[in-house]
């Protein structure tokens, strides 16, 4: 059986900078995979390419065996890829439920419709989705007044509107309080299990990564330096070096020199 997402030799260069350099990995159906790495490792660039926002310099992205490299974002979405954003992307000028309704209108190809009133369209389905993420009580509030954690849940509900096969989540817990973080990640795991949705997420919160990822990919300076189950990644020396720094030997003389100065 082919992998759901299959990335082969993906690269993106900005001039001499190799933001993403020959990265290959796969994600199976229903699998939860974390993509981690220090600042500037290429995680965001990777995501942007997966979502069609940035053109790869080289390589291929296959979704269920179909080549989706260089497709526009909306077509990738229609092929079954949903995403959430690091900085939440919701529509502050609308109510919570209307945010989800807009996604559903798009799913049903009615974004250009001029005749019906939008308020009642797909409202029930939108309420179901909100209930899934625990936001049903807040459905009638303007999105502009939500707390940040709730915005993240709304963002997730919108990403689930077309029942994606693959969900990309860019730092799903960034900016949330600790208790909310755990709850959100548990919710995401449940969704993956119940719906068979594969999830690929980037995250800085290691608790979230090790508690929920079945497999971890480590990027550093655009290259994939390690890949494996959480225990193996935790034990991997090169991964530790990337996170704690390896410039000790180079910096030491400076420290020594400093101590010499009176």
């Amino acid at each position: 059986m082919t992998a759901l997402l299959d990335i082969r030799g993906l690269s993106r260069h900005f001039g001499a900078l190799r933001a993403v350099d020959d990265v290959s990995f796969a994600v199976a159906r229903g699998e939860i995979v974390a993509l981690i790495g220090p600042n500037g490792a290429g995680k965001s660039t990777c995501f942007s390419m997966l979502m069609g926002e940035l053109r790869p310099t080289g390589g291929q992205i296959l979704l269920d065996g179909q080549d989706i490299t260089r497709w526009p974002t909306r077509r990738i979405w229609r092929a079954g890829v949903g995403r959430t954003f690091q900085i939440t992307a919701t529509y502050p000028s609308m109510r919570v439920v209307e945010n989800v309704q807009v996604a559903l209108m798009s799913h049903h190809r009615r974004s250009f419709a001029l005749v019906p009133r939008a308020r009642g369209l797909y409202r029930d389905r939108a309420m179901e989705l909100l209930a899934t993420v625990g936001m049903a009580e807040q459905a009638a509030r303007p999105a502009a007044v939500l707390a940040y954690g709730d915005l993240k849940r709304l963002d997730l509900a919108m990403a689930l509107a077309h029942d994606p096969r693959l969900l990309l989540m860019d730092e799903p817990t960034a900016g949330m309080a600790p208790a909310e973080r755990a709850a959100l990640m548990t919710l995401v795991s449940d969704i993956a299990r119940d719906r068979g949705t594969a999830i690929l997420f980037t995250e800085h919160d290691m608790d979230a990564v090790f508690a929920h990822a079945e497999r971890i990919l480590v990027l550093d300076r655009g290259r994939l330096i390690a890949e494996g189950p959480p225990a193996a990644i935790q034990a991997d020396r090169s991964v530790q070096e990337v996170y704690l720094g390896s410039a000790l030997e180079d910096a030491a003389p400076a420290a020594a020199q400093r101590e010499e100065t009176p």
Partner: protein
């Protein structure tokens, strides 16, 4: 009283709160490193001190003056210099013009940095003094960004990730430069992900995680507490699933 005293500050980007009651101090002449992973709040703390991300709760006091809520230019004029993470060199301006933007008269007890003194500190820049900022390498841009801030003759320098993305040889040059600043009597607060580098250049460590201070003390104490290091700095889990 400490030169810099940060008391219980909260800061947010829009609705996302990034600092939750951060407190810290820096004594005159001390070099303090703020450690933590991406998104821990290191850069935000420095921006909050500079009032680029004004705290909505708590106070920032510098030389016994409460600077909370001041516009950044006034903060700079009281003697706090800021070197941003992404360097923000003026790419259309030459090296010397970049320095000129930062120039401010020396205070009563400042070392009185001049262009020549800075070219002495960063010899690479001297060779490129008339080159436009956009033609500099990453390392040179980092040096220029530091030098530009020093032209304002600050008593306290905030250095955001000074070693990030630099080649090892440049990293050690940067370490030497920081040692020089300390010799000149400057106080430095820097943020770092590179523990080895931070340990080599600083006197004290502060560990942040999710916008909260988890550790404040000497590097020896930090070393003696592997739990802190493993939990907040390296790749490992606190709880197993």
């Amino acid at each position: 009283m400490s030169l810099l005293d940060v008391r219980d500050i909260d800061s947010s980007y829009g609705r996302a709160q990034v600092l939750h009651g951060v407190s810290m101090t820096a004594e005159a002449g001390q070099i303090v490193a703020i450690l933590g992973r991406n998104g821990a709040g290191k850069s935000s703390t420095l921006k909050a001190i500079m009032q680029l991300l004004p705290p909505h709760r708590g106070r920032v006091t510098f030389r016994d003056t409460d600077v909370t809520g001041w516009p950044p230019y006034r903060v700079a004029r009281t003697g706090i210099g800021y070197v941003p993470e992404d360097r923000r060199v003026f790419t259309q301006l030459t090296v010397r013009e970049n320095l000129e933007v930062g120039r401010r008269p020396a205070g009563p007890n400042g070392p009185g940095w001049t262009e020549d003194a800075l070219f002495d500190l960063f010899p690479n820049l001297a060779e490129r003094r008339d080159a436009p900022g956009r033609s500099l390498s990453g390392g040179e841009q980092q040096m220029l960004s530091v030098a530009r801030t020093l032209m304002g003759n600050p008593a306290l320098v905030l250095l955001d990730e000074p070693s990030e993305g630099l080649a090892p040889v440049i990293v050690s040059q940067m370490a030497r430069a920081i040692a020089r600043l300390r010799d000149e009597g400057l106080t430095v607060v820097l943020s770092e992900q590179n523990l080895a580098f931070a340990r080599a250049v600083s006197d004290r460590a502060l560990v942040l995680d999710h916008g909260t201070v988890r550790f404040d003390g000497s590097f020896d104490a930090l070393e003696a507490d592997p739990n802190i290091r493993d939990t907040y700095l390296s790749v490992s889990a606190t709880s197993t699933p």
